[in-house]
Symmetry: C2
Subunit: 104 residues, 2 copies
DNA sequence: TCTATTATTCGACATATGTCGAATAATAGA
DNA sequence: TCTATTATTCGACATATGTCGAATAATAGA
């Protein structure tokens, strides 16, 4: 989290499908924890995309965008790629709007 | 704030110039307070755009987008149009990321 | 080494977005 | 009513974005 490109972060969350992926990840397990079969059987493309009606390649692309924005982390695990919310970025965002609240 | 289109809100904040306008508004006065000459001499197009290097029509367009997203309010005051942050939406956003923090 | 499974890369393409300048609108104050 | 000031609307256009399917890559397990 060097420079914090907030516009870039918001851009990543501006697409409904991408936001949905983000929300699913934030729901399936506590941020910082890997979301994988251990918990609720969530792997990247296959499972995150199952609810959305988009091609696997599109999911892959969206996940990369979330990763680029710093919102999520990813790691290959065998044939799967596991994703999980980046807790630091989430915390930063939480503070962003809260601090805007009381002037600044 | 009926339906809360978060993706739409993030889209509004995803453009650097629009984000800058939003931040200027959140700085110039406490949310809920009108930002106008009374305080720090901030009116919409003229002043909000002065820092950014874009045409007045573009600023006007961006402000409308922020308004559509529910992030700001606006009101005509003579020749000027005054803008100010919508405190409810801001509060909602603040809660959005915070609640994502602890699973949900 | 071959096959199945999962994920990514790579064009391609339709649509959305950001931006401008010119024209128009809204208002205040001679 | 005329003029100046501020803001918005309206094309126009270049660029960005979301999406797909086919091809390719990465891995596990016969």
């Amino acid at each position: 989290m060097e420079h914090q490109d907030y516009a870039g972060i918001f851009k990543a969350l501006s697409n409904p499908n991408r936001l949905e992926i983000f929300l699913q990840l934030s729901r399936c397990c506590t941020p910082g924890t890997v979301c994988s079969k251990t918990d609720i059987d969530v792997r990247c493309v296959g499972d995150l995309g199952s609810g959305l009606n988009v091609a696997a390649s599109t999911i892959s692309h969206h996940i990369k965008e979330l990763y680029r924005a710093g919102l999520i982390n990813m790691r290959r695990s065998g044939q799967n790629v596991e994703c999980w919310i980046d807790p630091e970025t989430l915390h930063m965002l939480s503070g962003f709007f809260t601090s805007q609240g009381q002037e600044e």
